[in-house]
């Protein structure tokens, strides 16, 4: 691994903007954010996966993966980040390194030619070149190839140096952010700027969630210059350094981008969320206040309150029809834990009971919020082994489980309603409309008569039970 990459990782592991990171002593911090992996008992994607997740939603660039087939071949076009324009980001590009390329040391040449071919065919505004394990191991210098290609072809080629073996997804998110800071953000001056421009960082427009939020901001006259990276175009991200405020969602995935933009361009940032009604309102308030602080018209504050009041009322009114059916229903919330309190509070507001929630990736602040909401920390869990999760659901501890695809079949095989709230989902749950959608989906899942149907005993089970009962009765006589 190159010295430059080592230095970059060390830098990412020392993140002054991250509370959790700063609470550690220097020795702990050096170990990094991700727990060391246990061979034979590990789950989750690699750093390359994380980098790709963070950047792939950029719609109009070529995302070129330099490596043998599996890295791109087994994972391309597998998420639902939406685009209102270019579909180029859904195309899978890879150098598909062969044994011969590796043995002969042809990796760099092949990459260079691949860049050339991609430009010739697609003429993109930029090419993002992703390193993977094998080229990193044999010492391909993707930075050098990118810089040479940029010079030669005049198309920015951005090296994303996050080979899989350096760590987990989260590290990859951050290394992707570093690449944006080092090579993209600030390289183009925006055509227009106003004092109500913002960026949203760490929002990927999965299932079009951005479009549930944009109308609210439009209504307030707040313009999103760039969403990094959901539905973004290259020039928007490259010129996003002149906005007044950065809003950071998805917790700390791109916190390094937010902090460095503050240092370099003086843009203040805050961490917010568009999941849940009160969170959406808080985020809108925060945007308005920070914009006013930065010189926007002071009427923005009042207009924001008016919008919040009417949107909240409208959302609750639309949720009302579902309340009776959902009241008292018990939820097992099993997510990465990022901001799970925002969903906890929303579910509680409609009268659902949270039997437990995972807090694997939550900060201490998040945990405090959950404690306050749920009264004590009895229901907070780090992770539940699938066997126990299955047993718990079979006992009927919960009426529904909300989780990601990984635990989907644990719930379904336990014949328990399940709702996808991870990134692979097809439904959009952001903003006020998203919350109404979530409640409607919860309702749909729970009231479905299929649960009675699938739990119906088979004819032979019925007769087995009858035989057993007869036998018991006879024994008792």
């Amino acid at each position: 691994m190159s010295e430059a990459l080592k230095a970059k990782i060390a830098e990412v592991f020392n993140e002054p903007g991250c509370d959790k990171n700063q609470a550690k002593d220097p020795k702990e911090r050096k170990k990094g954010c991700s727990k060391p992996l246990t061979p034979g008992a590990a789950a989750g994607g690699c750093a390359f996966d994380g980098a790709k997740i963070a950047l792939q939603p950029l719609t109009d660039v070529v995302h070129l993966v330099h490596g043998p087939l599996a890295c791109e071949g087994n994972g391309w076009d597998n998420r639902h980040a939406s685009s209102s324009d270019s579909k180029l980001y859904r195309t899978g590009f890879t150098t598909d390194l062969s044994e011969l390329d590796i043995v002969m040391g042809n990796g760099e040449k092949r990459l260079y030619r691949a860049i050339k071919e991609a430009i010739a065919r697609h003429n993109p505004p930029a090419i993002f070149v992703y390193a993977t394990c094998v080229p990193a191991l044999i010492g391909d210098d993707i930075e050098a190839v990118c810089s040479h290609a940029t010079e030669k072809f005049g198309t920015p080629c951005i090296p994303i140096n996050a080979p899989g073996f350096v760590g987990a997804k989260n590290l990859g998110n951050k290394l992707a952010g570093e690449a944006l800071i080092d090579h993209v953000i600030g390289t183009i001056e925006p055509e227009t700027i106003s004092n109500t421009d913002i960026n949203i960082l760490g929002e990927y427009n999965l299932s079009g969630e951005l479009w549930q939020v944009l109308p609210l901001l439009d209504h307030l006259g707040v313009r999103v210059h760039a969403c990094v990276t959901g539905n973004a175009k290259y020039t928007e991200v490259a010129s996003c350094h002149r906005v007044s405020v950065n809003m950071m969602v998805c917790s700390t995935a791109l916190i390094n981008v937010a902090r460095k933009m503050q240092e370099r361009f003086g843009i203040p940032y805050f961490e917010g969320s568009f999941y849940g009604i009160s969170d959406t309102s808080d985020s809108l308030r925060m945007i308005a206040q920070m914009l006013v602080d930065r010189g926007a018209d002071t009427s923005l504050t009042d207009r924001t309150e008016i919008l919040i009041a009417s949107e909240e009322a409208r959302a609750w009114q639309r949720i009302e029809p579902y309340r009776a059916a959902l009241k008292g229903k018990r939820v097992l919330l099993y997510t990465g834990g990022v901001k799970s309190w925002s969903i906890v509070s929303a579910l509680q507001e409609i009268g659902m009971e949270i039997v437990s929630t995972s807090v694997r990736k939550s900060t201490d602040g998040d945990k405090d919020k959950i404690k306050a909401l749920m009264g004590g920390d009895a229901h907070m869990v780090d992770s539940i082994p699938p066997r126990e999760m299955y047993a718990s659901l079979m006992r009927g501890d919960a009426d529904i489980m909300l989780s990601g695809g990984r635990s989907q079949f644990v719930a379904l095989k336990a014949k328990t309603p399940w709702l996808d709230i991870n990134q692979e989902r097809h439904n959009a749950y952001a903003g006020y409309d998203g919350m109404v959608e979530l409640v409607a989906e919860l309702h749909k899942a729970i009231v479905n008569p299929v649960w009675q149907e699938v739990r119906r005993p088979a004819p032979w089970e019925q007769s087995d039970r009858d035989t057993e009962r007869t036998a018991l009765l006879e024994a008792a006589c």
Binding site: M1, P36, L37, T38, P39, G40, A41, A42, A43, G45, C46, A47, F48, D49, L64, P68, L69, A70, C71, G73, N74, G75, W76, D77, N78, K87, T91, G92, F93, T94, T95, D96, L97, E99, I102, K109, R110, R113, A114, K116, A118, R121, C133, V134, L137, I138, G164, F165, V166, G167, A168, P386, R387, Y390, A391, Q408, F409, V410, K413, K415
Partner: protein
């Protein structure tokens, strides 16, 4: 005879192939009490796992040796040992299938040697059958990985046959990677109808056929047991499906002396007949009435369906054996194969594909060629959906992965019934695309002149 064209591009766009380690993992999933493990970085497993879950809609046990930076530099033996021990303690598997990846193979370690040492110094691993296949991502694709894993299983587990003649009417079936649970069920039932006792390796019809067990299992549930595999030498015959299964079938034959037959495919009347004839010969029984009826139904389906195949321009993109099989099927029904793209050139049968050129390439080659040839139907896996949308040509999803349709594992395209189903599926795509004819359809014959246009034709547009 088709000419094989190797793409000279450096850039693969929209990959057609899935990786070899993934193929190996799929094979390992057909063994009972199994956990496949990829020897590589955690991402290697994560991508393969997610794709397999999306294809099968089942919980998939699959682990990783989690090669990190240190192991990348120092070698992965320690990780392999730790992973095997952790996995054995935690999940209590009866079988662990290890598949190597590009990452560890690029370092060129002696992984087989490492594994021997690991097994020698850890008595607790003796309870588990551990099999190793060398499947770097940079060589071959799904069919190669599957084939190597099956070969490794046979090599490790199958006992050589003793001097005694076979006691049972056992027949070994070695399905290819593209045989679904539905296909395997047909093979098994058909073999049973001849009084044979089939042992299937690997048997995803036991482990990935979508059942709801009444308790939690961390490993595969169902599939062929290690004991049954060890006794595969007791069979009368081994039948393997697909050219990529020739190597495992050959090893089985040389190990046990059981004669083997490789059938290129089970799709189509001729291939189904070949399978049935083989069973009749091995069992020395006549085909049962039920099978005769199935064959007659297929013949009838061919008569009803051929109208929708003749003059149809078909574009196929698939792994080599699947491509060969599908091309032969479509051609036998009267369709023209205008585009044939193979993921690799690792099959000698590619030259038999009934078309002028077989391109070894990606889905961009497939899309470009299908567009240029004005194909009527695209035949490839789910990643063909973008090409289908862009070109406005319907897509028949087949192969791996199929992640945007349900029932993939139960869809049977093997044998009389499976072929009949496939004919109906293709014909129905054609039927649903029928449109009401308008004069414009025939404009190339004689251009429509507005002034002389027949009044009745003015509103017709398509």
């Amino acid at each position: 005879m088709a000419e094989i064209i190797h793409s000279r591009k450096s850039l693969a766009t929209n990959p057609l192939k899935s990786s070899a380690p993934l193929g190996a993992a799929l094979a390992y999933l057909g063994v009972a009490g199994s956990v496949p493990m990829l020897h590589g970085s955690q991402g290697c497993t994560s991508f393969a796992l997610v794709l397999t879950v999306r294809h099968t809609r089942e919980a998939i046990p699959m682990q990783t040796t989690a090669i990190d930076e240190v192991a990348t530099v120092m070698g992965g033996a320690e990780n392999l040992e730790e992973a095997l021990l952790n996995l054995t303690r935690r999940m209590k598997p009866r079988f662990i299938g290890v598949a190597t990846t590009a990452l560890v193979e690029t370092r060129g370690e002696d992984i087989a040697g490492d594994l021997k040492l690991i097994l020698a110094r850890n008595p607790e691993l003796q309870k588990v059958k551990i099999v190793l296949a060398k499947t770097p991502d940079f060589a071959g694709a799904l069919e190669d990985g599957w084939s190597k894993a099956v070969t490794a299983i046979i090599d490790e587990i199958v006992e050589p046959r003793g001097p005694v003649a076979p006691l049972y009417q056992q027949i070994n079936i070695l399905p290819g990677v593209h045989q679904t649970a539905g296909d395997i069920e047909w093979m098994v039932e058909t073999a049973e109808s001849f009084g044979l006792i089939p042992v299937v390796l690997p048997n995803v019809a036991g482990s990935l056929d979508g059942t709801v067990p009444d308790h939690y299992v961390a490993t595969t549930l169902g599939g062929t047991t290690v004991e049954a595999i060890s006794r595969m030498g007791c069979a009368l015959h081994t039948v393997a499906i697909g050219e990529h299964m020739r190597a495992p079938a050959a090893l089985m034959a040389s190990r046990t002396g059981v004669p083997s037959t490789v059938l290129p495919t089970l799709t189509g009347l001729g291939p189904s007949d070949a399978f049935v004839a083989l069973l009749a010969r091995v069992s020395e029984r006549a085909a049962p009435a039920r099978l005769r009826r199935q064959r007659s139904q297929l013949v009838d389906a061919m008569l009803d369906g051929h109208f929708h195949f003749g003059r149809k321009r078909i574009a196929i993109g698939a792994d080599p054996d699947l491509l060969t099989s599908l091309a032969a099927f479509f051609a036998s029904m009267g369709a023209d194969i205008v585009t044939a793209v193979a993921s690799t050139s690792n099959s000698p049968l590619l030259t038999d594909v009934p078309t002028a050129r077989v391109v070894v390439g990606d889905l961009m080659d497939f899309e470009d060629s299908a567009a240029a040839a004005e194909a009527d139907l695209l035949v490839t896996h789910s990643h063909g959906r973008q090409a289908s949308e862009r070109l406005g040509i319907p897509l028949l999803r087949i192969g791996f992965p199929v992640f945007d349709r349900l029932g993939t594992m139960h869809r049977c395209t093997a044998g009389y019934q499976g072929t009949r189903n496939l004919i109906f599926e293709v014909a129905n795509i054609s039927l649903s695309g029928l449109h009401e004819h308008a004069p414009e359809d025939y404009a190339h014959a004689s251009p429509i002149i507005e002034e002389t246009r027949h009044a009745g034709a003015t509103s017709a547009t398509c």
